[in-house]
Amino acid sequence: MADTRIVRSIPAHAASPTSSVARVGDRLARLFGVLALLAMAVATYLALVYAPQDAAQGPAQRIFYFHVPSAWLAFLAFFVVLVASVGYLWKRTPGWDAVARSSGEIGLLFTTLMLVTGSIWGKPVWGTWWSWDPMLTTSLILWFIYLGYLMLRAYAPTREQGARYAAVVGIIGFVDVPIVYLATTWWRTLHPEKVIKPEGAAMPGEMLFAFLFSLGAFTLLYIYFMLQRVRIERLQYHLEEREDELAFGGANG
């Protein structure tokens, strides 16, 4: 039988599916779902129609409006993994673990999108799908770190061990995020430098607006995915709890 000690210890995130907390969570998820859908539709319009075409790169430059927000979302998700992992090691409550697990999964999805869209953008601009450039290589390492993070959970002998080991990887693995972010500053790379710097943005106003809107839309999407993913963790907790009740009830009866 699955090890359920972790979910039984302190059910901090495990409001009953019919409780008022759960109902508020469901309503919030629905609200963010609608907001994210609308924002993504507007962001797509701004990226494809509103923003002016880049004279040098042509239509392929518009990949920027999805590639950079994917990278931002991945970094945000891994930062949440870091915070939740520290929280889990400190408090040992399943709620922190649920947040870390959910955010890690979403972060891996958006790192994948970042790598694939970057590769597609690189072909017409650099003439190659891939280059072992510091920015790209450290991004690929980031992908492997969080793939390992999720595999560690899947293959750990018990759920509690998986949560503990993953929390350590979630903290150490985050070291790669600032390395990826600063790679264009530290090394000479094929990848362009950051477009928004303290001294201002290196792009026209319409492009900047479309880009910032896309960042906001992706952030809403992250919140919606997180709410849904944590709901899954909560329901999983209740399912395991009830399965245990039935199993123990049957054994004792």
């Binding site: 599916p17 993504m40 797509t44 040098a56 790169q57 042509g58 239509p59 392929a60 518009r62 990949i63 999805f66 590639h67 994917s70 979403i106 999805l109 994948t112 999108l113 694939v116 869209t117 597609i120 953008w121 072909k123 017409p124 999407l221 995915f225 849904q228 993913r229 709901r231 899954i232 329901l235 999983q236 209740h238 399912l239 009830r242 399965e243 009740e245 039935l246 009830g249 049957g250 054994a251 004792n252 009866g253």
Partner: protein, 58 residues
């Protein structure tokens, strides 16, 4: 510079990734709700001996 096909490919990848994950989350939620409801039904109707109360199809 005509490289529209690269833009379309990148958009398709993003759409498949986001919609695919959304589909996975929705399916998983539905499965868990169905399993929970089945267990609740079983628990509500289970006799003290622990015999499953869910009616089996004949």
């Amino acid at each position: 510079m005509d490289n529209l096909n690269y833009l379309i490919s990148a958009l398709a990848v993003v759409a498949v990734g986001i919609l695919g994950y959304l589909f996975y989350l929705t399916q998983r939620l539905r499965e868990l709700r169905r399993d929970l409801a089945a267990l609740d039904e079983q628990r509500a109707g289970a006799p003290a001996s622990g015999t499953p109360a869910v009616e089996r199809p004949r």
